[in-house]
Subunit: 157 residues, 2 copies
Amino acid sequence: MESEYYTFGPYKIHHKEVFYYTDLSYAMVNLRPLLPGHVLVCPRREVKRFVDLTAEETSDLWLTAQKVGSRLEDHHKASSLTFAIQDGPQAGQTVPHVHIHILPRRGGDFEKNDEIYDAIDVKEKELKEKLDLDKERKDRSLEEMAEEASEYRRLLL
Amino acid sequence: MESEYYTFGPYKIHHKEVFYYTDLSYAMVNLRPLLPGHVLVCPRREVKRFVDLTAEETSDLWLTAQKVGSRLEDHHKASSLTFAIQDGPQAGQTVPHVHIHILPRRGGDFEKNDEIYDAIDVKEKELKEKLDLDKERKDRSLEEMAEEASEYRRLLL
């Protein structure tokens, strides 16, 4: 069943940001994508830790991620995918609701980043960026996100 | 069924390194752990990309990872877990056989790294380390790995 809003921890996600759903899972575009096609797949039930999902939810979540990842990789003409769960605050989780990050990857995609860091900032950067896919990035408008979601919705028909 | 060797891409993994298995998946200690308890969960069938797993294999793989992660988090007195698949070479995959990285995480765990980098090395480091869990690290002996595996085997009884 489609919802008007989907639960994501303490937040309500507008259905326009959601491009795929099953009875147990949903996939949404990202407020702050790190790369084109960086999306999130979540259980519909609000569950903080991965271990708290039922077997049925766990299977459905990953079958959804597998399907979504494959379609987005083709769509973005990528050649690999990163799948990651930051399961708990010490792993970089900022929203206490299980979510899989999916990132279509291409050769050299992270080389586009032109920031120059001082050596002194490296440890902090390293800690934050290495495994922290929830880090602060610029927010996008609902309009922009709705447009991307509607593009992806067609891929998953 | 237990095997003497498990297939991991072109490699044969000795059963002493494997601490848990089902009919479709197995879990092994890591040759070059990034943190204590950094282990890998793989499908028993040699499959390069995540999308190539059957629904049954996908479910079993993640139910195995969920169980293994939970036991290792407790065992290592950690408070979070990182789960990641580097699915394809552009995502950092170096062994062409699907594998989930599981890392028990604690506050500040990456601050232990005392290396000082020159700013000029940051981009390369960033690219290699951000999402590349397969990066080069010091090899361990089979003896050391067998000992860790036997410790973990007891956790999963």
